[in-house]
């Protein structure tokens, strides 16, 4: 990984304060079936979305799910920089970045492997959603910045990106809604996990390694198509398909909020 030589490095003797924090026994579901924030197993958190915040960008959107805060800005369509990529369809460049202060552990300014992978996933998803044939020889740049990672950051990023594209009046086939599910054993599917539920490994009661993972699905609601599916962890086939179906239905329920946000945006113009 390339090292950042231009910024001042932390002193060599400094240690992460999290090393000294008390390890608490984190239990996902209490005895009466509720999670730590009082939600049921398949309850989604409330979402707040707003368009048109970044004045410098062609289009922009801000998405807040629980404590997760994501902002997306879109630039373009503009002339392609290098002339080698002469094509009659447009090009999309995406960047998915966590702000250094967004996660429990400080992120570097140079994109890490995880951020590069998420950028690639975002590019592939948006390539299937934007009508690229209408932008020959042009490129569109999309930047997603996670200001606070409270779980489901990728899902929030998908939704913010599609709203920012609509704000920029770039032709798309549909808007994207997305949802994340944490699978803990064969029985427990935790919808829209928060930070702890997403990242802590080994939450199952009997400590089994199989059927412990994270599934994120992005859906095109009116066309009823899946545009992105990402899963990590060890999941058996039937568990994975159940998790995917649950993800798709949860993502569909986000559609009305996003549509209302866009119609308010049109009325304000």
């Amino acid at each position: 990984m390339p090292a950042d030589t231009r910024r001042l490095a932390t002193p060599d003797v400094s240690l992460d304060p999290l090393l000294y924090s008390k390890k608490s026994n984190f239990v996902v579901l209490s005895d009466d079936g509720l999670r730590n924030d009082g939600r049921g197993e398949s309850d989604l958190r409330d979402m707040f979305i707003e368009c048109g915040l970044v004045s410098e960008a062609t289009g922009s959107a801000y998405c807040e799910i629980g404590t997760t805060k994501v902002i997306c800005s879109v630039h373009g369509p503009k002339d392609m920089e290098q002339k080698e990529d002469f094509q009659m369809i447009g090009k999309i460049r995406c960047e998915f970045k966590f702000a250094p202060f967004s996660c429990k552990k400080r992120k570097e300014h140079i994109p890490s492997n995880e951020e590069n992978e998420l950028s690639e996933i975002l590019t592939q998803t948006l390539r299937s959603v934007v009508c690229l044939k209408k932008f020959p020889k042009s490129q569109i740049e999309i930047h997603v910045l996670v200001l606070d990672n409270g779980g489901s950051a990728l899902a929030a990023g998908f939704m913010a990106a599609s709203l920012a594209l609509a704000n920029a009046s770039i032709d798309t086939f549909d808007i994207i809604t997305a949802c994340t599910i944490r699978v803990i054993g064969k029985e427990i599917y935790v919808v829209d996990p928060d930070e702890n539920e997403e990242q802590l490994t080994n939450l199952s009661k009997d400590g089994e390694a199989v059927d412990n993972g994270l599934v994120t699905v992005a859906v095109l609601p009116t066309l009823n198509q899946v545009s992105a599916m990402m899963s990590s962890g060890v999941l058996s086939c039937d568990v994975l398909s159940d998790a995917m179906n649950l993800c798709v239905t949860s993502a569909q329920s986000r559609y009305m909020t996003m549509r209302e946000c866009l119609t308010n945006m049109i009325k304000k113009m």
Binding site: P77, N167, D171, F173, I175, T222, T263
Partner: protein, 304 residues
């Protein structure tokens, strides 16, 4: 040395939002919404159709208002890039100097091109462009210069070719440029006007409006030499204030989506004389001026 200057600020919640126009009787769509399933309608801008056999749905691809023009269905989006037509007058900024051509930024999807063969040479000579002319390109137009030009050709991918082959077009000198949405500029026969308030404006079709002091030469041109040298005489303080007032009036009209042409700008200027030029930027003053301008325009239409 401290100066007592007051700054006006307003909380976002208290700012007067533009009154919701009569959108209740028009259809608002978001990408993916099915507009109609009737087979008689054709798909226009902002729509698409699945190319599946038997599927005749017209689906919106942008967020906006549906505009049905007879049998054609278009969706008018919030932000439009400029779509050029041959013969449009535009104001653009030089972005790049390349071999035998300039790249001009015109608020369109792709940058426009101004070829060396499409400009007038110094002194109005008609001759073949030599290698020396190529080297002297930067002396005429360099990065950051503003020009007024006409569209010569629209290519298949949407990029525009410009020309300044008239004494009216060329490099722009002292003045002020205002950027508005291209949809607010009416397509008319004449885009260069000398307003009676003492400024001359060029309403570029691409949304760039150029305001400058009155041209002093007898001809229509901004500079009589085909745009090589512009008037370097210092602009008086009164002229500057007039230019500033016209600029603010244009911004008021643009904020309320009023079409811009010489009469509307002139009326807005007249109505704004009651206020100081800098106060035109505040929301209340702007809406008042726009209301009065619209009343005046209606009166004119009523009398005509």
């Amino acid at each position: 040395m401290s100066s007592n200057k007051t700054i006006e600020m307003k909380l976002p919640s208290k700012r007067q939002k533009n009154a919701v126009q009569n959108v209740s009787n028009r259809m608002l769509v978001t990408p993916g919404d099915v507009i109609t399933e009737d087979t008689i309608y054709m798909k226009g801008h902002g729509t698409y159709g699945t190319n599946i056999e038997g599927d005749k749905r017209v689906i919106a691809s942008v967020a906006g208002v549906v505009e049905p023009i007879n049998k054609l269905i278009c969706v008018k989006p919030l932000k439009t890039r400029y779509n050029g037509e041959v013969g449009d007058v535009i104001v653009g900024r030089i972005k790049d100097v390349q071999q035998k051509r300039w790249k001009v930024e015109t608020n369109s999807r792709l940058d426009s091109v101004l070829h060396l063969s499409s400009v007038n040479l110094r002194g109005g000579e008609l001759r073949r462009r030599s290698a020396a002319d190529e080297f002297a390109m930067r002396e005429y137009l360099k990065e950051g210069d503003l020009i007024s030009a006409e569209i010569q050709q629209v290519h298949a991918d949407g990029s525009l070719s410009l020309h300044t082959r008239s004494l009216r077009y060329g490099k722009l000198g002292q003045g002020c440029c205002v950027v508005v949405s291209p949809s607010l500029i009416k397509r008319r026969k004449n885009h260069m006007h000398n307003l009676s308030c003492g400024v001359s404006i060029i309403l570029g079709n691409n949304g760039y409006v150029w305001i400058s002091p009155l041209v002093k030469t007898a001809t229509d041109s901004e500079a009589g030499d085909g745009g090589f040298d512009f008037d370097k005489e210092p602009v008086t303080a009164d002229d500057r204030e007039t230019i500033c007032r016209v600029r603010n009036a244009i911004l008021c009209l643009a904020k309320h989506s009023v079409m811009l042409y010489d009469t509307s700008v002139q009326y807005a200027y007249d109505k704004s004389l009651d206020y100081e030029a800098k106060h035109l930027l505040s929301d209340d003053v702007a809406s008042e001026i726009v209301d009065r301008t619209l009343m005046e325009i209606d009166l004119l239409k009523g009398n005509a």
